[in-house]
Symmetry: C2
Subunit: 415 residues, 2 copies
């Protein structure tokens, strides 16, 4: 190989989601797509999810046996889905005459921490991957999984295959990471909710990170954080057509001109309110320490002004964690003299995201005004430099998204 | 723990087959059964197969993608089935309040050779298993799988979970290995074929090894070889009742009194005939060397008397290997000046097995007479000290089994 060829050749990590590998025909289509990229002279590393529906099937089996299944066993169980698809795609590629080989998370050296079902990647050796690429192979890597220091299988949480793909792209210093999914890219809002939603051509890591954290399902938030840290250009595109998709990349001047880039919503929320908490120092750290030890992520926190030495404390968690959170707190409620624990499940978080919010005033006031006009009560508020979130009654979610999408002129008609 | 308790406590490896863990209810039943044994004070190691039908489902997926799927990919694919069942049983046991933990073949240190889809166990460390037992846990081990020196997943062939169980029993110096299946034990013939077939209370390793090799599906032959080598007492019993089952053990006086212990049949056979092979030295080693390099097991071999420097050579292989054998031989036929390769698939092997055959004459003559009386032509014959096999037209299989079972008085009525 001479220098010219080496310069022209790109290393691309391609990740295909569950719907893209949902059956034998679709797996064959992915093989064709991988071959086309490979035929253009690029080096390709493929990362796959499990067949769509497979993870749910396995979860249902586990839940039929145990109401609160052990996380270590869940990880072994759930990691099988990706092992099936990578073996099948490797077979499909080999059937087409190319050297392809499957690899598990362990085999590409993805070492994680011990937080089963939501493990974080600690390091990636990728030695076998590099050797496979050097030998002209197309490695097909099982997404979503790694191994902890105890040689047990771990998984990276829902959407973890995105993180596998971006992390491998970073470890291999790949030129880019393509995330193939069943939508054409990143939208200004969920098109199923806001009919005028528009696909975004280019978006900053920062905005995408907020959007993913705030309920946009197109990329796992951790994968965006990885991409931002290691400056991996990420393309989100459809595996069913050849549209260009959305580029997630470092921010530029152009991006900052948009005050609000997108509206997101997240119904996977529950509010926990502790009524009558003694208002003294150390209480909050005791409460949230107990919750954190259970690996439960707390999102928003609000503490009301105390009266008579007592205060109310509200916070939100993922809806699936609500019961476990309640159990944890019930265990320490007496000792801490907390009067009551109230769980509200039917809430949602509606958010607006945009780099331009940093330099524009009045965005928050406009959001509150829009929600008030629709008669939607705001239960909690959280802000960052580039996002604004309101917790509302879940039944108003779609109404709120449409109203905000219109009010901030995000639709195709007004673009 | 005092000395008395330690003496009384047994270490038992229990293996449950695919039908025993075929759905959630059955997995719960297995958990109850394991708990009962554990409650009696014994240490239990559980080995599981995949849910019945799962391996076939995965094979069908692979075949829909590739006519001749790569063995390394097949192993990754097929090894997922046992990973699902061990996670689910560990959950079921934990749900019942006992410490249980799943382990993969790799995690219990099952190192195999590189012969994907039919790997042989080279060594077992079982360190984690010993630690788990010492900690009072019930380890639940994925059968059928190991890891080769390249850190790739390998599988041990159909029925390989039996071998995992017996090999672990040997590695742990277990007191016994219980193979739970969907039949009550080992029979004098397939009860579906010979209605008078009788369950055998006790059988020697040698006879069981022959029977497994000759088509009795109740135990994988390799597992019996392991048991014989390491003198592991094996109980074959049903997971659906509490019958005693069949003990496979070292031979004793009593056993030798039976001239013929059982009749077996195997339709998974194909005959390859090479017509017009030059009759010179080195030819056979060339032919069978080429076949062996493809990891194809050759069973019976017959060479006809040569005429005019040419000879005919026939041998049998598993029916699934017939096409691949033909391909291998077609590749060398020209070079070796072989005139023709004929594959006959519709054949079967019918065998009688018994320790007493060593000291009784006339058994072979009786077998040939029985088959002749039924008008069944014998195509090939193979003998060992304790077995006699005849290859016949497959359509006569059941007739032959019944006739032999009656002729050697194996039925319940004549017992």
């Amino acid at each position: 190989m001479d220098g010219t060829t080496a310069d022209a050749m790109a290393l691309i990590v391609q990740k295909y989601g569950g719907t893209s590998v949902g059956n034998v025909e679709r797996i064959k289509n992915v093989a064709e797509r991988v071959l086309r990229s490979h035929g253009q002279g690029d080096q390709i590393v493929v990362v796959l999810s499990a067949m769509s529906g497979e993870t749910d099937r396995l979860v249902a089996l586990a839940r039929a046996i145990s109401a609160a299944p052990d996380p270590r066993e869940m990880d072994l169980l759930l990691s099988t889905g990706e092992r099936v698809t990578v073996a099948l795609l490797a077979l499909a590629l080999r059937e087409r005459g190319v050297l392809a080989q499957s690899f598990t998370g362990r085999q590409v050296g993805i070492l994680t921490d011990d937080a089963h079902t939501r493990a974080r990647i600690l390091s990636i050796t990728a030695d076998r991957l590099k050797r496979a690429l050097a030998a002209g192979q197309i490695p097909v890597v099982a997404g979503f999984q790694g191994m902890n220091g105890n040689a047990d299988v771990t998984t990276l949480g829902r959407g973890g295959s995105d993180t596998t793909a971006v992390a491998l792209a970073a470890a291999l210093s790949a030129d880019r990471c393509d995330i193939y999914t069943d939508v054409d890219g990143v939208y200004t809002a969920d098109p199923n909710v806001a009919a005028s939603a528009r696909q975004i051509a280019k978006i900053s890591y920062e905005e995408m990170l907020e959007m993913s954290s705030l309920g946009a399902k197109v990329l796992q938030a951790r994968s965006v954080a990885f991409a931002m840290k290691y400056r991996v250009p990420v393309w989100v595109r459809s595996s069913f057509n050849d549209h260009e998709g959305t580029l997630v990349t470092g921010e530029d001047k152009e991006m900052e001109q948009e005050v609000v880039s997108a509206v997101t919503s997240d119904k996977n929320q529950a509010k926990i309110t502790l009524v009558g908490v003694p208002d003294r120092s150390g209480i909050a750290s005791h409460i949230f320490g107990a919750v954190a030890r259970e690996n439960i992520l707390v999102d928003m926190i609000i503490q009301n002004i105390g009266q008579g030495g007592l205060t109310d404390l509200s916070f939100t968690v993922a809806r699936g964690d609500a019961d476990r959170t309640q159990e944890v707190l019930a265990g320490i409620a007496e000792e801490m003299k907390i009067k009551q624990i109230v769980v509200t499940a039917n809430i949602a978080k509606v958010s607006i995201v945009g780099l331009g919010m940093r330099s524009h005033t009045g965005v928050a006031a406009r959001m509150f005004e829009v929600l008030a006009t629709e008669g939607i009560n705001i239960l909690m508020i959280a802000t960052s430099e580039i996002k604004l979130s309101c917790v509302i009654d879940a039944k108003y979610t779609e109404l709120a998204v449409r109203a905000l999408h219109d009010a901030f002129h995000l639709g195709a008609a007004s673009a």
